[in-house]
Each structure stands twice: as C-alpha cells, then as structure tokens.
Amino acid sequence: MNLSVKRVQMSDPVVWIKKASKSYGVLVALDVEELKIWPGEVLTLSGPNGAGKSTLLRLIGLLEEPDRAEMFRVFDKNAMNGGRPALRRRVGMVFQEPFLFKGSGYENIAMGLRWRGFQPEEIGRRARSLAELLGLVDLEKRARELSRGQAQRLALARTLALEPELLLLDEPLNALDNAIRNRLLVDLQPILTAGGRSTVYVTHSQEEAEQLGTRKLGLSKGTVVNIAGRKSHS
C-alpha cells in the first residue's frame, strides 16, 4: 500500500529518529526503525491503545529520553547531546489528558508565554485571538471548573499561543461534540502547517486523519507500520 506523502519542500527533516527504543520495565513501549518528520507536513498517527503513540510523542517532545537511539535529531540538533530545554521551547504538545494549572483559563494560556518573556499586551492579544478561534467564552473562569471539552480546548489554546515550530497533538479533539469538532477541524487545518510548522496528530478518527493529514502512519505494539499493516520506513 502506498502511503500518501506530500513533502512540502525537500529539506532536512525536522525530526529524525533511527533505531530508537523505549521500555518501561520489561514492556517494550516503542521500537522505531526509522522515522522522519518533514517541514510543513501533518503526520497523523493512529494505532490501538498501548501501541506507543503517546510514548513516541513524549520522546519527540523531549520529555523523555529513548533507552537507545542510533540517531535522535530534533530540528538540527542531536537531542541526545543535551540542550533539551531550549529545544523543548520550539515544540508544543497537547496531551491526551491535559493538566490545567491552578488559576484562570487566561493564566493557563499566559503561563508559557510569561516564561518566554512575552509582554502582557502580546499575551492578551494571543489569548483573545485563540479564545475566539476555539470558542472559549470566559477566560477568567477558573480552569479547573471547565467542562472536559472546554478544558481540552483551553489546553489547545495554551499550546497554540506559543506558536511552536513543531506541534504534537495527542487526540486533541476527542472530548468535543461533533458540531464543535467539525468546525475546529476546518479552523485548525491552516494552523497546523502555518509558517512551515510540522504537526504530529494522534487520532483514532479516520475522518480527522483524512481531513488533516498529509501523511499517515500507524503504530502497533511499539513499531511503525503503514495503514495496511506492512512494516515501512518513513
């Protein structure tokens, strides 16, 4: 089966992983032969529960280290050689079960921006713009009082506000009702590749994968397979 691949431009991959594995105790959570993520592409990732999707995202997001890797490059840096905090600031991640910090929705959105030294005016502008896009009505409301769907949208807003070069989204819309989800699928599409950004989008939804992805990959038992089930280099 051919994977549909639309490479926006021939250039160095944003992420290049080769012969990398990660285990938790005796469980091999991930064993990747080779994976490249290119600038401007939306790589949708699917697979059953426990396939290693979230583990892969945490590795790419530099939140965990692989147990071994022949090559582990994020942007143009070998992430195995240190400098991870600086690299992490170029990546944005939305977890499957996001954690919202104490405080209002606005304070959650502002958090990462304040850490990067953004001024209040710019923080306010980005927060308002994303609130409008994602349908967040009251940013002053305490984040932990939001419904699951609103919390998920707030987590998305919090990450998008950082305008990262690489976006890692772990089922970011799974808690939303169909009407909101369908609207957001349309609105999010340009954002996922804005300014040459690359996105890895984990989803169980074929519809989301079809609509958003420029390339599709499947994970099964920690290894990358194509949708048809044959082992494939990407």
Binding site: P85, V91, G92, E97, R158
Partner: protein
Amino acid sequence: MDLIWKGAVKAIRLLAGVDRELLKIAWLSLKVSATATIVAMLIGLPLGTWLALGKFKGRRLLLAIANTGMGLPPVVVGLTVAILLWRTGPLGFLGLLYTPAAMVSAQFFIAVPIVTGLTTATIQSLDPRIRLEALALGASIPQLVRVLWREARLGLLATVMAGFGGAISEVGAVLMVGGNIKGQTRVLTTSVVTETRVGHFDQAIALSVILLLLVFLTNVVLTYLQQERQ
C-alpha cells in the same frame, strides 16, 4: 482539675497584666523558633524538592537519612550542637553557646529534616502530569519548581507548620545549648521545666497555656494562608 483551672486563671492574669518577663520569654520563643523554621524552609524546601525530582545515585539513601532525621532524638541534637559550640569545640571561637543563636541552631537541626522529608513526600504525591505539562510548556528548572510549589501549596504549608511545631515544642536541646538563662535564653518550654522543678505547677500550667496559644495563633495565620482561595 483544680490545678489546671488555677493554671488557666493564672495564664489569663499574666496575659491581662502584660507581665514584662512573660512577654520577653514569649517573644524570644517566637523569634528563635520562627528563625529556625525560616532557615529550615530555605534549605529544606529546595532540598526536599530536589530529592523528589532528582534521578541520581544515592538518592534513596539521602531520602532515608532525611526521614531518619524526622525521628532524631532532640537530646542528641542538643549534645552535638553543644559539643560543636563549647569553648574547646571546633566552633567555640564563635562564642555562641548559651545564646539565642545556639538555640536557633539546635531547633534548625530538628526542623530541617521534618521540612525536607515532608516536602519530598508532598512533591512526590503531586499528579505526575504537572511536571510533564510544565516542561512541555517550556519551563526552566526554577520555573518548574515554582509551578510545583504553587500546586503543592496546601501540603507545603502543612510542612512548615510541622517544622515550626517541632521547633517551638523542643526543650531538651534548647536547654543544653541555651542554658535557660533568665532574661537571656529562657523560652516558654524551658520555663515550664524550671517552674515544674520548683513545684510552681500553676505557673507551669499557665506558661503551657500561653505556649499553646502562641502555637495556635501562628497556625491560624499559616492555615489562613493555606486555605486562601480554596
């Protein structure tokens, strides 16, 4: 019961009469214990956080030492500090023995393992997603620690209360290094011991009531801070 009642009445008289010596003793008790607790916090909170988050060889051993410190016999602390500070000791040149500074040192060594051990437990009991989420948002280590402390505020303030309680209730170590000198190093706990020894039980009970009141009022303030906006 009659004795307790007499003691309570005496406590009220002493407070109402604004007894100067009592005020001096109470103020010294608060100053010494508050100083020891603050210094214990300045060291114990970061140390406990480091032990909670760190991944390094010997971490569990250090943690076991901190936890052992929580049960450290105060007289052992007092003896150790006294040996260090007496004239022929390694720190004898400082001339600190039988001064409030020596008492602060002794109470510090009692409070710091409490603060450290409980901080570690508090941070470790936080939702692990907090750390991942903060790192994913680009937090540096100091920013991560600030977020963790903010999320753990309830537990950390309880830790401070426990450290303060351990410090202010200490008598053995404080007697050994302070000497219970009237007007200089006499605090509420050592005063209770002195009054009891000479048979002034009503005075001892009165001082105990005042000590309890002092601890209660301090904890009212800390509890208010802890429960704010909950």
